[in-house]
């Protein structure tokens, strides 16, 4: 018996955004074991990475939205996880992006982030959207800037520490 949940699939020029599943585990665990995960709660052991990937799937069922696994169309490679996120302990709905090693510098976070934001404003009817960015995560801050977001306020997360809330342009501005 196959257990699934009905997450929508999104497509952009270069990327497919689909629901996370077990086939993402190796790429997800490699990212969360790497120093690059230090801004998003890592590094994590393989077991904690597994639990975290399961959490990504469960978040969809609890909240009705979540983050998508991002696939590069040309190579079919799993390049990251991007989407809409609001676990307990977050101040507002957020748009988050984690790009895996080797996938940065191509504009993928911006491309996937824009598609996820359009889905939030268009399909879900949200009126505002933030991104939480750990202090010092300059790569992520630059993605927020490219998406037109601006600094809103400081926020301290129980586990991730000092962060900044960046606020995206609203639905009208994103057209």
């Amino acid at each position: 018996m196959t257990v699934t949940f009905s997450a929508p699939e999104l497509e952009t020029e270069r990327l497919i955004l689909r629901a996370p599943d077990l086939s993402d585990f190796d790429a997800f665990a490699a990212f969360y074991a790497s120093p690059r995960a230090s801004f998003v709660g890592g590094p994590l052991s393989r077991e904690l990475s597994w639990r975290s990937l399961a959490l990504e799937a469960g978040h969809w069922v609890l909240r009705g939205f979540g983050r998508w696994t991002v696939i590069e169309k040309e190579t079919k490679a799993t390049v990251g996880i991007v989407g809409l996120w609001h676990p307990e302990g977050f101040p507002e709905n957020e748009l988050g992006w984690d790009l895996f090693d080797g996938a940065t510098g191509k504009g993928y976070a911006t491309e996937a982030g824009r598609a996820a934001r359009d889905y939030a404003y268009g399909t879900l009817g949200w009126t505002t959207l933030t991104s939480l960015i750990a202090v010092g995560n300059d790569g992520s801050r630059r993605v927020a800037e490219r998406l037109g977001a601006s600094y809103d306020r400081d926020f301290t997360h129980e586990r991730f520490g000092d962060m900044q809330v960046w606020r995206h342009p609203g639905p009208e501005a994103c057209g």
């Binding site: 018996m1 196959t2 257990v3 699934t4 949940f5 009905s6 997450a7 629901a19 996370p20 599943d21 077990l22 585990f25 052991s45 393989r46 077991e47 597994w50 639990r51 975290s52 990937l53 399961a54 959490l55 990504e56 799937a57 469960g58 978040h59 969809w60 069922v61 609890l62 009705g64 939205f65 979540g66 676990p87 307990e88 302990g89 129980e158 586990r159």
Partner: protein, 173 residues
């Protein structure tokens, strides 16, 4: 609305075992805030409990099986969570059990639910082995494992926590 599909429901004499649903989250989270959860990963705060409940649901997506919420047939109140647990990094697949409230103990609920899950693991999921990992000091759980016919396996690997490994004997074919 995003729903989980394809999950089975098991029925025993008194109990319904169904996949966890969003409405079960508050009971799960409240349990994990209490000392009753000390042998099963707790206690934990709201944030951690919420994350863990998401992982319980996501486990079904990852593996096609997972932990069931246990209720009486005619009352959807969650009594506990019993079922199949296998983070894919663990040495073996587990049947595990938790009753949320002490008032549900002593009625054979965990026994009845766990026995159904053991049958399901052998006959439907076709597992090769079944263990239960039981934290040191969890005497009630050890007693239940023994009533289920499981035997302590001193040589089996545990998944990196301070736990006894109880092995459920394969039924005669």
């Amino acid at each position: 609305m995003i729903t989980l599909t394809g999950t089975p429901t098991l029925r025993t004499e008194r109990l319904t075992l169904r996949a966890p649903q969003p409405q079960d989250a508050p009971t799960f989270i409240e349990f994990y805030k209490t000392d009753r959860s000390q042998f099963v990963g707790g206690p934990m705060n709201d944030r951690q409990g919420w994350n863990f409940f998401c992982t319980e649901i996501g486990h079904w997506v990852m593996n096609g099986f997972g932990m069931f919420v246990v209720t009486y047939h005619d009352d959807d109140t969650p009594l506990g969570i019993v079922g199949h647990w296998y983070p894919n990094t663990w040495p073996e697949k587990e049947v595990g059990w938790v009753l949320f409230d002490a008032k549900h103990e002593g009625k054979g609920i965990a026994f009845e639910a766990a026995r159904a899950c053991i049958d399901h693991a052998w006959h439907t999921l076709k597992w090769d082995t079944i263990v239960s990992y039981i934290a040191h000091g969890n005497d009630a759980s050890v007693a239940l494992a023994e009533r289920l016919g499981a035997l302590r396996d001193e040589t089996a690997e545990d998944p990196g926590k301070e736990a006894y490994v109880y092995r459920h004997p394969r039924p005669a074919a």
